[in-house]
Amino acid sequence: MSAPLTLLLAGHVDHGKSTLAAALLHALGQMPEGKAEAIAHACAARDTAFEWAFALDSLAAERAQNVTMDAGYIWLTTPRRRLRIIDAPGHQEFIAAMMTGATQADAALLVADAAEGLREQTRRHAYLLHMLGITQIVIAVNKMDAVSYSETAFQKISTEITRHFAARGKPPIAVIPISAREGEGLGATSNRMPWYKGPALLAALDKLKAPPSAETLPLRLPVQDVYKHGEKRVLVGRIESGSVKVGDEIILSPSQEKAHIASIETWPNSAAAGASAGQSIGLTLREDAFVQRGMVLSHVQHPPALASDFSAHLFWFGQAPIAAGASYTLRAGTAEAAAKALEAEALDDMAYRVRFQTRSPLPLDLHTTQPRTGRFVIMQRGVPVGGGMVERIAAQAAALPIKSAHITPHTQAISIEQRARANGHLPGIFWFSGLSGAGKSTLAQALQKTLFARGAQVFVLDGDNLRAGLSRDLGFSPQDRRENLRRAAEVAALFAQSGFIVIAAFISPTEEGRLAARACAPDWFHDIYIRASLAACEQRDAKGLYALARSGKITEFTGISAPFEEPGQPDLTVDTEAQSIDASAAQLLAYIERCCMAPLQEAAYA
């Protein structure tokens, strides 16, 4: 016996799929005892003629309307193999149920009515099978009895179907005239159609090939879960392709951490030495690597792509058409990711080509090379409403220019690089120093709005929000002002570690204070001098503080009763006296984009 095969029965509604499935059972002598009597009974109860399809259309609603609503399964044993037959609904309303069946199939038997030929759902099913990569297709031209077993009628449809398939690049394996109801052309060639020289239906089905094993492809093991088993941490999952053995060096995607296989855990027998495609396994790693569901384990030489920009051919039964700019949740293997449709081309009301951008990179393959890890489903309101086959993955992002790792404590499970890819920008601390009234807060808030609107993670730290809580215990003595700045710099560093663009607006009157702030996060720190002369600031005096300071009601006021040291070598000077606030904001925005956004875009196209 050959390996079992799963065969989808597809085609337009009422072209006789369920009847054919029952007729095949009957032809092979495998209709359960008493089934025919039970069907006769059910038909009599409904006052209808004997209906073979009731053998599969088991639901009362299906029988009442004589239409298949959900995919049903039956098993047949031919002389060569076991066949698992999925009887899919042919009505357009139940197309999602049809695809639920189609995505399980190795091959398809497409049924077409001899009198009607190719109809809308016949074409649609043919198209969807092609999209799924199901290329082994047998066509049954059914209800030949209704056209008096006419060779001309058959030839007309056969030519039409063969042309339709050839246009897509893959002709059907066979086109066979049958009558399911009369049992003609199923098990043996029909003597009512002596003009037909090809194989009977079951003989053609026996020639279908089992799907190729994925064992010779590169290793892909999507991590399903991590179990604590005694002292061990066991990663569990199913090997989708390739094979793995104890001692292999592996790499985890997308974290890119490398490790070695310490053991393969099985029960009740003790550990195995290796495992291959199709097996559900547990394994332990020699190193203490961070692993979680959604990661893909592969060999170091052949990892999956880290896709954050990719295109797919997809089927879609969601509520609204797929629109460029809309966001969706994708599931690929055990990973889940938010994705935005960058471009969407509707090929049909249920088929699209879509270019997606994910917020974080998704381990993916091309569907043509690694089918099982080259596809995904699309969720809407928590329910799967579509699926895609990956056709193109934009060049992988190069390593990000992260200068040193010393500000990331190793206790963080998510690296700065991972956060940067998820956010679409590097973190940064833009430390605005300058006199009161120079425009620091105004510029900080304007930039925050602009950056936020562009999807950036951004936050403004200033005297107001810091002194309201964290520095509530501090006054304005030189020591307290120094301590306040120290706390501000540490908070800014934490924000930067969490991936944020921080705009810190503090007068920061001394060079020593600014240097100390830089030391908290030297890789991300930008010393920005918001310059305006004392005279200009005093003239603006939006808060009336200069007047109070001049009258002595405020003491230790920078510029009046306390010194301000101009930055010696700031990273950027923004002169709000020489240019408008808008021009200053534009100058700062360009600078922040250059520091935080550009390196990621460059890496993506490297």
């Binding site: 002598g29 088991s58 639901l59 609503m69 995505t103 199913r238």
Partner: protein, 277 residues
Amino acid sequence: MTPLDQLEADSIYILREAFHGIGKLCMLWSFGKDSTVLVHLARKAFLGQVPFPLVHCDTQLEMEEVYAFRNRYAQEWDLHLLTQLCPPLEQTDPSLPPEARVAARKTLGLNQALSVHGFTGIIAGIRRDEEGTRAKERVFSPRGEHGEWNIRSAPSEFWDYYTPRLPHAAHMRIHPLLAWTELDIWRYIARENLPVVPLYFAKTYHQFEGRNFGGKRMRFRSLGERGITWPVESDADTVEAIIAELETTRVSERAGRPMGADSDASSFEKLRQAGYM
């Protein structure tokens, strides 16, 4: 990989998806061949220790041998077994045939177990080849407020992407054995050397539960409650003989459990819509 290897691996995958995605999980154990295979698969999936309770909906009408099997293996396999007594027959839908009403007690027991323990997922050992409405089931199949099944609301299952949580589902039924056939079950029992209740093996029946079988060789194809489940004629008295029998038989697996099916097969559908396995 053999076909059995593949079935085993996919069932383990499903069990692990359920365990990851569902908060409060349990597994139904009726001590029949299917649910015993299921328990074995769960032990494999979780490396020897089943991490959720097993639930027995007890009508107190199981056969002696079934209770003996339960008592032995619950302890031997170190399982956390919860026994839920089923409400009496009077509380079932009186429009059902008498046999189906006995089965409906299981549904009521299951609903009680759900409300007492707050389970959000129930793993059950049904198979598509058993019966027409089960042939249309999903691997992850949502149930409504009162355990009811509405096939029109079943979510799509593309490839093996399952949906363990649904906004409108009161609980989820998980069916790891859906793709298995009766023959697969017995081949797996043989391969893994699993114990089964001895009633599955043929012996001579004279009297059984008040019926006269006149000394025929018979066995149980499927185990159910006393009074609604009967042996069928068979000579198969070993696992190997059962496999040989199933390779050729055309007798339906549920032939010994009519459930009023001779009136109209839809009584089983009614049972299932109301929440029966």
